[in-house]
């Protein structure tokens, strides 16, 4: 397995404010798979994503990515792990407001060992004409495309997407999903997508449903619906 999650537990707070968000999650993902994690609000899906992304530490359990154990890594090691393996796409884009589209992408290009060509990426994502604009000058879809470009420029092995269409309208959401699908096909990027959107599960290889901090159900789609044909986005 490319991504192996075993009995991951994570809690927050102490005493009366103590809450265990992940109660022993175990799952896995093959290289090149697109996977959706679904669940209700507070189910622990984003926490799991953050633990996989090395953005948050887990209390116990194990996460291995391409054979590398994350648990117990020091901050500097986690930083290198993210640098070498991961790409992030967030619901609210998290672009740096005082950097242009190109510069936001350059941020990740700079630290990549084998970065993709930035102009090609801009072209692919339809951002060429907007490359010198600041985030505040872009629409939501354009901003998310910029965020995707930023995540992809490193040519990451694992792309973690937290509600990538959560702040977008239906049409733009579809465009973004089509784009992700294309990238998965073109670069073979393994993708883990956290979403509320029920339609997205149809386009991915694997679906994991989390409830109350545990994997309630996980399955692989035998027949995937192309992103362009998804309904009710």
């Amino acid at each position: 397995m490319y991504l192996q999650v075993k009995d991951v537990k994570k809690s927050y707070g102490k005493d009366t404010s103590y809450i265990q968000v992940l109660k022993g999650v175990s799952t896995g993902l093959e290289r090149g798979q697109m996977c959706v994690i679904q669940g209700t609000s507070g189910s622990g899906k984003s926490t799991l994503l953050n633990c996989i992304g090395g953005l948050d530490t887990m209390d116990s359990g194990s996460i291995t990515v391409d054979g590398t154990e994350i648990f117990g890594m020091k901050p500097a090691q986690l930083s290198d792990y993210r640098r070498d393996n991961l790409g992030f796409i967030f619901q609210f884009y998290n672009l740096v407001p005082n950097l242009t589209v190109r510069e936001n992408i350059q941020i990740c290009q700079y630290i990549a060992e084998n970065p993709l060509d930035i102009d090609e990426l801009l072209e692919t994502l339809g951002l060429t004409e907007h490359q010198n604009k600041f985030p505040a000058q872009l629409s939501g879809g354009q901003q998310q495309r910029c965020a995707i470009a930023r995540a992809l420029v490193k040519n990451p092995k694992l792309l973690l997407c937290d509600e990538p269409t959560g702040a977008l309208d239906s049409k733009t959401s579809r465009d973004i999903l089509v784009l992700l699908e294309k990238i998965n096909e073109k670069y073979g990027t393994t993708m883990l997508i956290v979403t509320h959107n029920n339609s997205i599960k149809n386009m991915v290889h694997k679906v994991i449903i989390i409830k109350d901090g545990l994997v309630k159900k996980e399955y692989e789609n035998e027949k995937r619906v192309p992103a362009a044909e998804l309904e009710d986005l």
């Binding site: 005082n98 630290i111 600041f134």
Partner: protein, 903 residues
């Protein structure tokens, strides 16, 4: 809603505790700095002023040769003027210190006791507090002075010896070697009559009634005494010298008078014998004629020879007779006739000379009388009793501490203005930043129907409260013993002052307690009002204006370099904010450093420019310059500096002066001015400068021929000959002698002896006196700088925090983060410091002269290069430490937390 919103206040305080604490600290330090400096200056100045009526401070004092008579005093006090004798005797102690003994004061310059009571009987004395402190003397202790034992009954001070120096010419207070004691009248008189002490000084203090200082002075001057009444031997010597000159002239005229009279008498006597002589001559001639007639008759010639015909008659007969006898007769008669006529001529001449000499004698007599009158007029025998007249304004012993406080007050007020500007600036940056961070909350609340007024009140409350509390704490600390008390300590340690009560000037209270919250409220109101002019939706979406970011092309291909430059340019507003904050806070430090540098320069340059070892200032100049001495002529004129009258010393020197480098040209209007005057007034060669002699109501104009690198006070140099001519002195006059070794000059002839050691000591006093001010300014300024740096850097790093966290998520390493974001801040600080440090220095140098308008001294404020380097390095170090603290905070936040907060 207000109630609910108010619940956020404490949470907001907790969340932004570091920032609020920094703001609190900034205001506390700023207010403390200003209140302590200005408060202590105000306390000393106001309390000194108050003491004038409480302690009945003199309006002036005068010293006389001979004590005033009852009649003199009655005449002088007729207009309500109060006069009290302040006679004193200088007593030596066993350790060779001088204790100046006064009688207990009755009406003027009253003793203010810090402890104990006044002397009530023999053997008791009140001791001046400075001396008591230096010798650790207390009430009940015993001291021996002038061979007499005294029990100390009280420790206190008097307002006429605020600066407790023995002579007006003394430059520094020496607490351990000079002090005052006050005894009963009886004790004083007993010691005086016992003898063996130095001469008593007859000084009177006065408080003016319905008159002026000048009128009183004229009236004291009109009191005359005879030279015989004067006991001072050098004064007597001077009088005698003057009288010798008179006697010499008088003797000469008398001699002339006597001589002419003698001549006149002699000639008169000679003239009185003229008629006898003439008669005898007549008789001789007539006898000879009669004898000739007898001889002729005997010869048969019947002729009678007379005076008129004898020559012609005898000539005719001789021609006819060829008589040898008659020829001889005629010759004899001619000789006798000539003799008689000669006698006539001689006697007439003698009469005439006699008459002339009589007239000469009369004339000389008249000359003598007139000369006597003239000599009486020129060499007035009656002399003025007055030896010195010093008004309180001109008395360095009075209000010395208050005068010294002018610089403190001015420096404090300037620091106050800077700090106020800094408050407004920092608060505005703080508020703008906070409101920007909160704008989505503001938008949401606004959208939910919360009124603008309520929002404004909500956001204004905490910073305003903080500002008010900080102002009150700062004021409390400022007015406390660690503020005003410690600031005033240097003055207490140097001057002889009673323990003053702290004063609370309303303007200072308003400045400390009212202004910070008002500024805070106003700045908040303006910022929030501006924010609330936007729509609620725009605020909620946290929309940013793209127009605020500028796009520009860069040639560099290096991403970190390009990124850092763009980041720097895009954050230029924050950078400018940061640099401005640095500039203003560095100005406070510069103010302290300028004070310190100036004091040190005054000390160092005064010492290095003083090339002589001894300066003897004459009270009664000698005729010849003592061996080993260099004569000079000193006069004091005045100039104005921002309403203060400052002394300008005019020194007349020889062309080859050994002790001064100035080489003044000959000429009554030509002068070399010293560098202190140039530094204060910007004079240059060729300028005409005018200085005044207020006592003589005269102005003296000089053309500046050169500038001398001489820093002691305000000084101008003249050619000594030209100066003597200008001030109408004798050709060989001098009143000062400089020397590199001790000269044998009688003390009584001198006003003062100033050694280089004295000058070094007095020059160092400035540094000592300014220590509190300088240290407070530098320490408080440094704290203020650190706090401002913390707040400003906090704002800059906050603005980058999101970016930093984000790139951290992407896997950036600390070194890379620094190169992209934090190195830019370092560049801002490094460049900012490179601009702010010299700019702050320049600004302070420009306004610095206004701090010390009452001191005639050099204004060398130049820093050694290494001081700039130290300040610069200190700024960078402060940055590094604060940056580490702030970045460390960011590091501690987990990336997930940042994302959560962001979303």
């Amino acid at each position: 809603m207000d109630k609910i919103l108010s619940k956020r206040l404490l949470r907001d305080l907790k969340a932004n505790f570091g920032r609020y604490l920094a703001l609190l600290l900034l205001i506390i330090m700023g207010i403390y700095l200003v209140v302590s400096i200005v408060g202590s200056a105000e306390m000393i100045m106001q309390e000194t002023e108050n003491r004038k009526s409480i302690n009945m401070v003199e309006d002036g004092q005068f010293t006389v040769f001979v004590p005033l008579s009852e009649d003199d005093i009655s005449e002088l006090t007729a207009d309500g003027t109060q006069i009290e004798s302040m006679f004193f005797l200088d007593l030596k102690t066993d350790d060779n210190a001088t204790l100046r003994m006064f009688r207990n004061r009755e009406n003027i310059n009253l003793i203010q006791l810090d402890e104990g009571r006044l002397a009530e009987k023999n053997g008791e004395a009140v001791i001046e507090k400075g001396y008591a402190s230096a010798h650790e003397l207390h009430v009940g202790d015993n001291i021996k002075a002038g061979g007499t034992d005294f029990t100390i009954t009280g420790v206190g001070s008097v307002p006429d010896y605020d600066m407790c120096v023995a002579n007006f010419s003394d430059t520094a207070v020496e607490r351990s070697s000079f002090g005052l004691i006050f005894t009963t009248v009886q004790q004083y008189d007993e010691l005086k009559s016992a003898g063996g002490l130095n001469a008593e000084e007859y000084t009177y203090a006065y408080r003016l009634g319905n008159t002026t200082n000048d009128e009183l002075k004229d009236r004291v001057r009109s009191i005359k005494i005879t030279p015989e009444q004067v006991e001072d031997k050098y004064f007597r010597e001077t009088i005698d010298e003057i009288l010798d000159e008179r006697n010499e002239i008088e003797d000469g005229v008398n001699e002339l008078n006597d001589g002419s009279k003698e001549i006149s008498d002699g000639l008169e006597e000679l003239s009185s014998h003229s008629s006898d002589l003439r008669e005898s001559a007549d008789k001789l001639f007539e006898g000879y004629l009669a004898q000739s007639n007898s001889s002729l008759a005997a010869m048969g010639q019947k002729i009678t020879l007379t005076e008129e015909n004898y020559h012609d008659t005898l000539e005719t007969i001789i021609a006819a007779t060829h008589s040898e006898q008659l020829s001889t007769l005629m010759k004899s008669l001619d000789e006798i006739y000539k003799f008689r006529n000669g006698i006539y001529e001689y006697t007439e001449g003698a009469d005439s000379v006699s008459e002339g000499s009589k007239k000469l004698a009369d004339g000389v007599k008249e000359l003598k009388n007139k000369t006597d009158e003239l000599l009486d007029e020129i060499f007035e025998i009656d002399i003025e009793n007055l030896t010195s007249f010093v008004t309180a304004e001109d008395n360095i012993r009075i209000e010395g501490a208050a005068g010294d406080m002018v610089m403190d007050k001015n420096a404090g007020l300037i620091a106050g203005i800077i700090i106020l500007a800094l408050f407004a600036y920092v608060i505005s940056v703080f508020v703008v930043h906070q409101i920007e961070q909160e704008q989505s909350v503001i938008g949401a609340l606004y959208a939910l129907g919360v009124k603008k007024k309520n929002l404004m009140l909500h956001y204004i409350t905490m910073p305003t409260l903080i500002a008010f509390i900080a102002g009150a704490i700062g004021a409390g600390l400022g007015f406390s013993p660690i503020g005003v008390g410690s600031q005033a300590q240097d003055s207490y340690n140097y001057f002889s002052l009673p323990e003053f009560d702290t004063v609370y000037p309303p303007y200072l209270i308003a400045y400390a307690i009212i202004l910070p919250p008002v500024i805070c409220a106003v700045v908040n109101a303006v910022v929030i009002n501006k924010k609330l002019s936007r729509t609620a939706l725009s605020l909620m979406k946290n929309e940013q204006s793209a127009g605020s970011y500028k796009q520009f092309a860069l040639k560099t291909k290096s991403f970190p370099k390009m990124f850092a430059i763009r980041q720097l340019v895009r954050e230029s507003r924050s950078a400018i904010t940061m640099v401005c904050g640095m500039l203003v806070s560095i100005m406070v430090i510069m103010l302290g450093l300028d004070c310190y540098v100036m004091c040190c320069s005054v000390r160092d340059y005064t010492v290095s420019d003083t090339k002589y070892e001894y300066q003897y200032l004459y009270k009664y100049p000698e005729k010849t310059v003592p061996d080993g001495g260099e004569a000079a002529y000193i006069e004091t004129l005045s100039t104005d500096c921002m309403g203060y009258t400052l002394d300008v010393t005019v020194i007349g020197i020889d062309a080859k002066s050994k002790y001064f480098d100035a080489r003044p040209e000959k000429g009554k209007t030509k002068a070399v001015i010293n560098s202190s005057l140039v530094e204060r007034y910007g004079y240059k060669v060729g300028d005409r400068v005018v200085f005044s002699d207020f006592a003589a109501d005269a102005d003296y104009s000089f053309t500046v021929t050169d500038i001398s690198d001489y820093s002691v006070g305000f000084t101008i140099f003249m050619d000594i000959g030209s100066m003597r001519e200008l001030f109408s002195q004798d050709e060989d006059y001098f009143n000062t002698v400089y020397s590199d070794k001790k000269l044998d000059i009688d003390d009584g002839r001198l006003y003062s002896i100033t050694t280089k050691e004295d000058i070094e000591r007095s020059a160092s006093v400035f540094v000592k006196l300014m220590f509190s001010l300088v240290s407070t300014l530098i320490i408080a300024g440094t704290v203020v700088f650190c706090v401002v740096m913390y707040l400003m850097l906090g704002v800059m790093i906050d603005r980058s925090a999101m970016g930093i966290s984000l790139i951290k998520i992407f896997g950036y390493r600390p070194k890379e983060i620094r190169s992209l974001y934090l190195n830019g801040n370092l560049i801002v600080v490094a460049l900012g410091a490179a601009i702010a440090v010299p700019l702050a220095k320049k600004a302070m140098d420009l306004i610095f002269p206004s701090f010390i308008p009452n001191v005639a001294c050099s204004m060398k404020l130049a820093f050694p290069w290494y001081l700039y380097v130290i300040i610069y390095c200190a700024v960078i170090i402060v940055y590094a430490v604060i940056n580490r603290i702030l970045v460390g905070k960011i590091k501690k936040i987990s990336p997930a937390e940042i994302l959560k907060n962001r979303e």
